[in-house]
Amino acid sequence: MEWITKNLPYLMAGISVGGQYALIAIGYTMVYGILRLINFAHGDIFMVAGLIMVYAVTVMPMPLAIVLVIAATVALGFFVERAAYKPLRSAPRMSVMISAIGVSYLLQNLALYITGGLSQQYPAIPWLSDTVTILGATTKRVTLVTPVLTVALVVVLVLLIKYTKIGMAMRAASRDFETSQLMGIKLNSVISMTFVIGSFLAAIGSMLYFTNYTGVTPTAGAMPGLKAFVAAVFGGIGSIPGAVIGAFIIGICENIIKGLGWTTFSDAFTFALLIVILIAKPTGLFGEKAIDKV
């Protein structure tokens, strides 16, 4: 019993952080699936979502602020794609990636300019931030809500992609731009839609993530962004279930390592994992496979 009370918090924290990484990782993996682009600005969009919340609660009630955070983050994701990636549609992939890095720095420096570089106190979201006790272990309610919410959102997303028309268009576009256009699919709308979904999930993820931390800094998106990126690569970039499973594995492993008292090495573990994956199985757990004719 004592063993459970001692270790359960780490496991729960791991599952929770994993869920938060998963919500970010989906944004990376979906955009990669369609544009073959690592959207380096995604982690910073996540950070901006955190900052919007910080400022929004000062002028409006919490429920309204939550709606605003989601709407503004989605708008930001949409706008970044239209302004920084769409004009480069026929450019080499490297150019688009450089543009993504540019957007990343732009957002970080804008945040630096607005916040003055100081960590901004993230508001406590009622209910989510409440403390609960399970099997003798105390934790915030967000720890329990995150995995459930993540799995629910992922299920909805997978169904959307499998059974709706826009989902079918996304799958088609991720395979073959030209032929998709010949089907009458509006490529730009489909691409925008992936950014909208990715940003929406990042906004939800930011609320769950920052609730566990005291503040938002201009570089607060970098680390979770990178971890989520590793999760996406680990799971097989382009695959949504892969990204989610990868994120949970990384989140749980990091926290177990912390639980063992090796906190210093928890980040190193994640990036060592990236290197191992890239060497041993570059397509990840569920990476794209070529179909053989039978």
């Binding site: 079918m168 088609a172 030209e178 032929t179 256009q181 010949l182 009458g184 179909i291 004719k293």
Partner: protein, 239 residues
Amino acid sequence: MSNNILEIKDLNVSYGGIKAVKDISFVVPKGEVVTLIGANGAGKSSTLRSIVGLVKPESGSIQFNGQELSGMPTDQIVAKGITLVPEGRRVFPDMTVLENLKIGAYMRKDSLEEDLKWVHDLFPRLKERSWQLAGTLSGGEQQMLAIGRALMSKPDLIMMDEPSLGLAPLIVKGVFDIIREINQQGVTILLVEQNANMALQAANLGYVMETGRITLTGTGAELLENEEVKAAYLGKAKK
């Protein structure tokens, strides 16, 4: 109103300074099978690709039912009732056969039942294999799927880029039978082929393309009898 569904005038297409199509003009009369034959690199595919807006023509006009198409994005051109069966079939390999057919009707909002039945009647094999992933079909079946997918958009004009490429002779014959059948049901067809013999037999009107220009025009039968065509494309020596 003219009887031509498609009118091309002085069309020029370039890829990075290399002229692929030079000042060509031709028409596709409504309800007919028209073929564009020629060797590799003659500019046939470039012509088709510019009609659907996948490449932007450098100059010239493309009129479909009297409406100018050049400069329009592909999805809008397709919405007007043109479709292209691309070279190499390009079915979506990780979607099922049925999904491939449904995505062909992506722009339509009405019921697909009737057209699915039509396509399934034309290609019974596609019905049997509805739940199979398209990537696992044989080349001939993929070509049928690509044609079926194009038909699902209920086009007025269907353009096919080398539908016989890489298929066994018996399958090629089947593909041409289907082309005739589709045409008899009222769809105008613009066919690009290297298999000049089969194409000209199926066509009411033929154009011969060489290095970006149209060099000969005639009915299918006339071109089949033409000595130059015989020598260059049908493998029969001049007497």
